[in-house]
Symmetry: D2
Subunit: 493 residues, 4 copies
């Protein structure tokens, strides 16, 4: 699933660090930008999807008035600061409204903000961040500020910035360097301006992670950690149980329907769909489509997942058995070439093919770029690939992640991520020296439970408390943690 | 539910009629336009929703280049005809593509077209139509032409015309008089041009019907029929079983999710929702939301429907019991003031209120237009109504039909309607004299079954045939009808 | 579906009638017993299923101590009456407990009893009844007595009587003539004793009806009515909306699972099941099995029902397409020979075949009684039919109704039936002369709604009341009826 | 959940062991029998439930003809062996049929038997077993024999033996010492006769485990292992992923419905149910009940599970909030006193309370054994507890595990367990010296996957194979394992 989150690294203020320098040096590791040769196409692919996923709320600013580069403009906020660089500081008020709307669905984070505001647990923290800059991120940043931190921020993606939100943050005093549609040169200029400022030494870093099953960035981070390059402890908030279940099972359950509907207006009832892969993502997609009246087939390589699919009421088949039959193919495997050109050749006229999994390699899209096939862009993110005999196959998001490209991520899910991040930062910043070494850690189970408990209010859910007698019987502390730490391991069965 | 369909009236060619004249005289009866005084607001209300529901595919033409009125332009199609009036005949090619896309999901109608094409069962039919002009309607019109009919068409709504589709039809030779954004004067001018043309006497009329439970237009038609005003037989295709189930239960099941998601990006999981009314529309909405993890409450006045809701696993409550609790209210009653200002005052901050039922009176929207409340339009069709204490209630489509305004109707459902219409026209046109008198008829059950059977191919569904022995045992004809005619009665239980 | 209910006929007390005489004369019409030749096998078939369906609660009395015929014993209840004939009056206390347990789930009927008890609307009614004699029937009979009626009762089936319930009723003063395991001669003797007693002239009759789609008894009644044979009005409580939905959709949803589990302990998850027929019964069975993880295929003859199955997410196939594949066949058609010997020959080893539909002719069981096949009874109601190659097909209830034979009918559903019956009796008995002629009537819609409303309390459901303004807007009376009378027509779509 | 399984310990034949001696010495550790003082009540509790869960198929033998103790009889099988002690060797043929029926749903185990039969991987293995002796266990034992092992078997429970199955095994040559209704003295006599026989030294032991979340026996085994008492390696087959999901989620989904229906005939539609605990068992119960139309509330102590319940569409409440409202309480917590006497006092008349969780302490049943309350046994496993005011609460299985007591476990689930056990034995017996030390091991992931793959045939499921290129891309072996070993950790989220 394509949710966005962050890994935080931190060192106590009393240990001056040069982290930000290393950060810039290893820039392609962190920013997902490949070496020059391959950069162009990848950045395009990433940016498009990011763009779309955030376009719903703020589309009014897309048709930008002004073509002057922000780098060439001098802007001043109402507090006379010029330490920021955004598209148009005058959009601050509109951005403020977007942030306020986002806050409505992030009440857990706001509640954390309120509880900890007087303590200022991040007093003295100087955080430099590099993430998508959206209304939801803004709620996180403003929470960090409310808890005492100083923040400077830049975008991790050249297309994903909501300009009006960047303006609102800058108006508030956060030094933001980001706008939608940066050039590559702009990108590195922004990072430089963000990190290297006179008399301000960051002591915590917030980095973006595009979560997926074989996660390149966490992996990089781990490799770095092993190699001794990463001199600060970091927390991997991606593997928290709360985040996993929400980002994958629950989020996909909603976004597969939304993504298909917004792009194709397809009727679900009676549609024959094959879902490739029955991990959490495949489970979420299958359940939602079945619930709306689709007939779903599953392909799997793992017999344990296959057996689960059977018990859940799905026929487990090889793709070739149903390829001529199905109306929709959805890939959720993390694998490559799950749908080949040969199979695309055999699909029905009017059938839809899309990807909810990890990479953009699941569907062999490249194989479709041959002269005998005609591509027709019928809507944003929707291509008709037309065979010589007139058959059309509808390809969504060019095989990239459908839900990142063509649907929205519920703010509530982003709230869970953001709250987890805020807690991780507080934990790292306040941990007694020695608790965390230079490594990547998982969020302690108890914090995971705390994040969950903060979000229960949204549902008006009431937790039962253990009696003393019961706690003793179960061998648990009354306040948790209620599960051992090894439960944290991602469980995709 | 807000699906669009038609009632057809027809007289054989050998009986010259003046139907079209009466049609124009009684224009407010048929077109849903009230007397002058009330016309302005109603037409606005209808047109907005119609506009939106068709905007997805063809939005590229919305920002129309040219402000000249089509009435003031002279356009010529490639066959040198000037007998049409559309926005821009040059958009014909784009419109053709839209029609082709629509055809993909209307294979039953295309199949009917192919089967009957050689027979030309509508040879000699001169049909004047007044409906929404969309890609789906175009597939119907072109089918009528393929079956031998001559057609002239005009729009039943000043906002709902897809300009490029009108152009494509005109290019093909259908005399279309319609464009998006007609003035009221344009509207009547178009009807006049459509109907009254030299040397062309229509013998069949196709009229629009906005279906709803207490359907004003069918009612008008019935009243007319009783009063002897309607001198031709007509068929009420709205009460066909196939159309009912598809337009209400199945269509609402899909569109409630789509409508809420497109407007608010709301996460369904864990949301507390109250659905007012448990007829077919309420059943469809409740089932879909429950399937996606919402907790649904039902209000009902009819104990039989209430008992069904109980058995289906919903708590049946009075609205006041849950008004402070719920995140979403959806009205599906056909009643008025189901949600009052007093109740809106008690809703939670951030809660959503919308209407899937009949009239725009279900939510007392008028009561919200008071000075102490601030309205903020945050997206198209989405208003935040803000109370003095800062509480926001999110009102969708200003209380009009959500699915007509904020989601799309699956083409497959429109295909059922259009196929039913085509068959009704063929039946009326070819019926032996005397079979139909001047009244409103239901489509014979057998035709209803025929429409259904044509649509089974879409699902690769295989019907079982009765053996002679079985047919005899059941007292049925092997080819149907399989149910008595009274089964046709709308059954909302 | 196999629920049991009654048709009541009544004449006012001031018109002495000979109804009971005709009743006895036409006994094979009413009692479902054929002429002598065919009687043996049919009575066996009916009785077995009835027996089983009531055995759960009171099995302790099955192994009857005493082989003396009740006809040969003289028994006296505690009020010194001898006007009854049951197995053993001493079981009255045990029967009383069974009745009390049944009352717990029949609170609506009890509530009706309490409301009308002071009015005694049946004062003067002399009701002779011939139904299954079970705890639930007893609650009905005791309600009639509480409302002022005098009752004499006999069993409609030689196996279905709960002896201890019959004893409890007799102890209370109801003249019951019935025991489990009557001979045919006993059966007619009991009816005679029940009806023809000195100085007691019945003025209402309560008869049993085995409900099914093409209902033989209602049919007989209608034929009689037309022929002028039936000289009293009667009400067909089977076609009431409430009863229909509950007996078919909701009841089958529960009993298909129960029936299969109790007989075969089959695991539902992943099972491939074909359901023949997609009326209300088929819909209920399919939905339940799908919900528990089975993969369900549908066969249909009616394209409208087939299209619904498609939209509900089922593949519609011909039986032959899946016969080698499926683990379970369930017939719900009302048709004959839906599963033929040829098809049974091709079923998998270990597959299950059963009937939820109308007749015992849906599965061609007779064709399995050939020498090359071995029948092995492995449990009550469960036969293994063994092919020469060792293949076993598991046949349930010998093809008779599974839910009548192998599961229980929820008391709540019986409560709806019984309450409807009580109201029908009150209506007929109190109607002004002339309202009902000698015909079969449907229960007025308003009463149907009243029965439903009485049952809402069970679910703690709260009905919404129309305001005066709303009632006026909808053109309805505030107290209902809320639907026109033609909604009553059975709607199996 | 109450499924039964085994832990196997094994030592190679070339290492003569005295395991069986220790086994007898520590008998109360292994057999779950406490010291003399507490033995009586516990054995009663266990035995009753075990009895019931296996009674469905073979109840005909329950009313045993003959009261002579098997110990006092001399019986000989057809091969003239007397080395066994069962109720009645003449029941062997009936037992054979039961075993054959069980085999139909254990095709995976049969398939393993066939594949390995020629290799005889257990040649030389001498296995002494102590488990429930049922038809399903017999299929396992006969598989072990087919693979080359010699087996001697005894019962782990004095009530759970299917006598006819014990006879069939003895007839085949397996030395079985067990009958239904052993005294405690019989129990130890049987173990002694089974283990200590002239010239036969067992080299593998098969022991029973009653699985539950805090599993006493696995725990004992671990403790023993740490203490060096257990001198052989053992495998914990309970924590295999396949077994976990099947025993808990899928099995409970089916058995909660079955257990409630068989005991109370309750209608699920519209029932208000509170499920205490939202682990795998709670998830399975909730999903099944919701699917059948019940309204389900959840109580939880763990905020992460609570949040999942919310997203799955359940209201999360404290028990006290709904105690007066609900019709059914189901405990699934593993905790004690989850339902207290105070809460039972406040339940509605006619409400049902039962336990699907671990211990029989979840419901405070002891608190109900007070003089003011009357207990009335209405059916096997069903008690009405009656308050002074006449209120009845229906208590199932006296608070013990409902599904073990009142429903059946699908044979397919037992097949997964048995196949896993057979593989574990083969692995331990054939492992190169040194692979397994004296400890408790988890089944290697690959074997877990193998068990799953053997069971896919039942569903006609077709696994997809990785291409070389894909395997390389994913870094996996084409034949698995497909998940890392840490995925094995029980994941109850």
């Amino acid at each position: 699933m394509g949710e966005l989150s962050s890994v935080f690294s931190a060192v106590p203020t009393h240990k001056p660090v040069k982290k930000q320098i290393q950060f810039v040096e290893d820039k392609q590791e962190f920013s997902r930008f490949p070496t020059k040769a391959g950069r162009r196409s990848l950045s395009r692919s990433i940016s498009q999807s990011s763009t779309d996923s955030y376009s719903s709320a703020a589309s009014c600013t897309d048709s930008s008035d002004d073509e002057t580069s922000p780098r060439d403009k001098t802007q001043t906020n109402s507090k006379s600061s010029t330490d920021f660089c955004v598209k148009n500081i005058k959009q601050a008020e509109f951005g403020r409204r977007e942030i306020e709307i986002a806050q409505q669905d992030m009440s857990a984070l706001i509640s954390l903000r309120k509880r900890a505001q007087s303590e200022k647990p991040l007093a003295g923290a100087k955080i430099v961040g590099c993430t998508h800059i959206t209304a939801q991120t803004a709620v996180l940043i403003e929470t960090l500020v409310a808890l005492g931190a100083q923040c400077r921020w830049t975008a991790c993606n050249i297309y994903s910035t909501q300009n009006e939100v960047a303006a609102a943050l800058s108006e508030l005093g956060v030094a933001v360097f980001a706008w939608k549609g940066e050039s590559e040169d702009d990108f590195w200029w922004c990072i430089d301006r963000c990190v290297n400022t006179e008399g301000w030494q960051p002591n915590m870093v917030s980095l973006p992670l595009l979560f997926d099953k074989i996660d390149a960035n966490v992996h990089s981070l781990r490799v770095l950690s092993k190699a001794g390059k990463l001199c600060v402890p970091a927390m991997n908030v991606n593997d928290s149980v709360t985040k996993q279940k929400f980002d994958n099972l629950y989020c996909c359950r909603e976004s597969i329907l939304d993504g298909l509907k917004r792009t194709t207006d397809v009727m679900f009832g009676g549609k024959q769909v094959v879902v490739c892969g029955y991990g959490e993502v495949g489970k979420g997609c299958s359940a939602a489509l079945k619930a709306l009246g689709a007939i779903v087939y599953i392909t799997e390589i793992d017999p344990i997942c296959a057996l689960q699919a059977c018990m859940d009421g799905f026929r487990v088949v090889k793709l070739n058995e149903v390829i001529r039959l199905v109306d929709v193919i959805i890939t959720c495997t993390g694998n490559k070439n799950v749908v080949t050109r040969d199979q695309l050749d055999r699909m029905k006229n009017g059938s839809i093919v899309c990807n909810m999994g990890h990479s953009n390699t699941e569907i062999d899209v490249a194989s479709l770029r041959t002269p005998e096939l005609t591509w027709e862009r019928v809507r944003s993110q929707v291509d008709h690939v037309i065979w010589p005999d007139g058959k059309r196959v509808i390809l969504l998001a060019e095989g990239r992640l459908l839900n990142l490209s063509c649907s929205t991520v519920p703010t509530f899910v982003l709230s869970i991520t953001a709250t987890t991040q805020a807690l991780a930062l507080i934990e790292l910043y306040n941990a007694p020296e020695g608790r965390y070494k230079q490594d990547v850690y998982l969020l302690p189970k108890k914090m995971d439970e705390y994040v969950a408990s903060l979000h229960l209010a949204t549902f008006d859910a009431h937790l039962t408390e253990l009696s003393d007698e019961q706690a003793k019987y179960l061998g648990l502390n009354k306040n948790g943690p209620f599960k051992p730490n090894y439960y944290r391991y991602v469980c995709t069965f």
